[in-house]
Amino acid sequence: MILRKRLNSLLLSWKTAGGVRQTIVEIISRGSRNAMVVIGATIIVTMVALAILAPVLPMADPTPAELKVADRLLPPSSDHWFGTDNIGQDVFSRVIWGTRVSLMVASLAIFFSLLLGVVLGLTAGYFGGAVDYIIAGTIDLFWTFPAFLLALAFAAALGPSLANVILAISISYWAGFGRLMRGQALSIRERQFVEASRALGARNGRIMFTHILPNCTAPLIVWASIGVADAITIESSLSFLGAGTPPSTPSWGNMLNLGMPFIGEAWWIAIFPGIVLLITVLGFNLLGDGLRDVLDPRMKGMRR
């Protein structure tokens, strides 16, 4: 009985030290003092707000049913801030609506790859042995290939649609999360509080998800932030190549694809979607890099 009490208190102290809530509080309090994190977060919040508010913002219809020849390729003016494209659609409103598509695709893709990577990596690292051998081999295989190339191959095979782009990016990107999670699980499972929990009779699933996973919150958040930036780049590159978001949906990549033949006469079609894309990617990268510096100074400067 006394032993059980001591084990419980040991467990409790570890849980409060590394719990998810604690980590998030720490991220906010330390992050708010880092310029990179603040700038990144401001950009992201602005973009997310624009994406959510797109339907209620007072601007032109991004895909008007009726197109006028007179509206084609108009330069930026007070009516059309970013000008109009080759079929007379307002570039500004298409850029804002494109934010919605890009952010949705990127965050869903990263959510799914996070899920896949965490479950597989955790299983491999925690159980070890033959399970680890198979999963770690798969992770390494996917890790070897550049995510963009894999996503291109999958997207080409599946055909252009929003769901397929999300699927293609998820399958191509999960290995990073898997590697991270496996490494963490391998080291954390040897720690005393895991042993304590096991002595109390906790099952594998409980140890994996309530003890090991919360201890990995910080690196996972860092990776996910950089992951969203990568996913936005991949999505727009795929759409630019015509293998991603179908042309009927406005996305930054396919706006540039459709605008390519006209850049000689209408520079605004190409410049504005790209600038917004660049700022958004920069925002997520800044947040990720900044958080990494704040949370783990040892990882400073590392990338890839």
């Binding site: 295989l141 070897t144 290939f145 550049p146 963009f148 190339l149 291109l152 191959a153 999958f154 080409a156 095979a157 599946l158 055909g159 930036a229 780049t233 727009s236 590159s237 630019f240 190549l241 015509g242 293998a243 990549g253 540039l256 390519m260 850049i263 000689g264 520079w267 190409a270 410049i271 790209g274 894309l277 660049l278 990617v281 920069l282 990268n285 800044l286 890099d289 400073k300 400067g301 590392m302 990338r303 890839r304």
Partner: protein
């Protein structure tokens, strides 16, 4: 590794919705043609037998034949070999550019850590890394080809002038990564005891940095050259499309739009082999640079 790559490539064709035989025949094929293809490729056999047949043909150097009208029945291997040198030259020059920008910038910013120069370089790397290569390509094209009219818009007709913009586009993103790595590696080396010792012995600063510091700091940067090749393979696909550069990357995108699956399959296999070779080079260089790592 290569075997697994072929498996994935084959799996992709298998996963493609619709009848694969239909994807492999020219648009106006008769029912008999389709049946012929089905039998030749064994599409009525179970998956594993199909894959075996695919591997068997591959071992004999048979990647199949193109099914689009322009290049009907041409051997996929021949088409790819025609395009390969173009991609190789793009990647080689792109790599050279990225290292000749990245290494000096990284060293300069490490030597003047936290100075205005250093900050400027760091901002440059952040922006250059975040910039998608297709957009950078379009912007360079807009500035140098459309507005200033100094360089050709795309293609290869301009000779040497046509390769400038594509290679800069390809090299710049990786230059940012190289700069960051070079900077952190140089900073780390500068903190080492042997550097302090050399300084205290009164060696000229230039000799300390270039003869002793750089030599050690550059190793980790050079060893990732193999991984950079993988990065460049992805970049080449995008850049070739932007500048209509007739390499493998443009070929794969064109073939995707034309539903020329044998060519897509062949190209992706070649690109995958590039990546695998890149990783192999990285492993070898790593062992050469650091004798503690043993091959095998």
């Amino acid at each position: 590794m290569i075997l697994l790559a072929t498996f994935i490539v084959y799996l992709m064709l298998y996963l493609t919705p619709g009848d694969p035989a239909l994807a492999l025949v020219p648009p106006r094929a008769t029912v008999e043609d389709i049946q012929d293809v089905r039998e030749k490729y064994g599409f009525d056999e179970p998956f594993i037998v199909q894959y075996g047949l695919f591997l068997w043909r591959l071992l004999h150097g048979d990647l199949g034949t193109s099914v689009t009208t322009a290049t009907l029945n041409t051997d996929v291997g021949t088409i790819i070999l025609q395009r390969l040198p173009r991609t190789l030259e793009l990647m080689a020059i792109g790599l050279t550019i990225s290292y000749s920008i990245g290494i000096p910038l990284g060293v300069i910013s490490a030597l003047r850590q936290n100075s205005v120069t250093d900050r400027g370089v760091m901002v440059f790397t952040l922006v250059a890394y975040a910039m998608p290569s297709f957009w950078l390509g379009i912007m360079l094209m807009l500035l140098f080809a459309v507005k200033l009219d100094w360089l050709p818009l795309g293609g290869t007709v301009g000779g040497f002038a046509s390769i400038i913009l594509p290679t800069i586009t390809l090299g710049l993103g990786n230059a940012a990564l190289t700069t960051r790595m070079m900077r952190s590696s140089m900073l780390e080396v500068q903190r080492m005891d042997y550097i302090t010792q050399l300084r205290s012995r009164g060696l000229p600063e230039r000799e300390v940095i270039f003869k002793h510091g750089l030599k050690n700091a550059i190793l980790p940067v050079i060893t990732v050259i193999g991984l950079d090749i993988g990065w460049f393979v992805g970049g080449a696909v995008v850049v070739e499309t932007v500048f209509s550069w007739p390499g493998i990357g443009k070929l794969v995108i064109d073939s995707i739009t034309k539903h020329d699956f044998p060519v897509v399959q062949g190209c992706i296999l070649v690109l995958a082999i590039f990546v695998i070779l890149g990783n192999l080079i990285a492993d070898i260089l790593y062992a050469v640079a650091d004798p503690r790592v043993r091959l095998g």
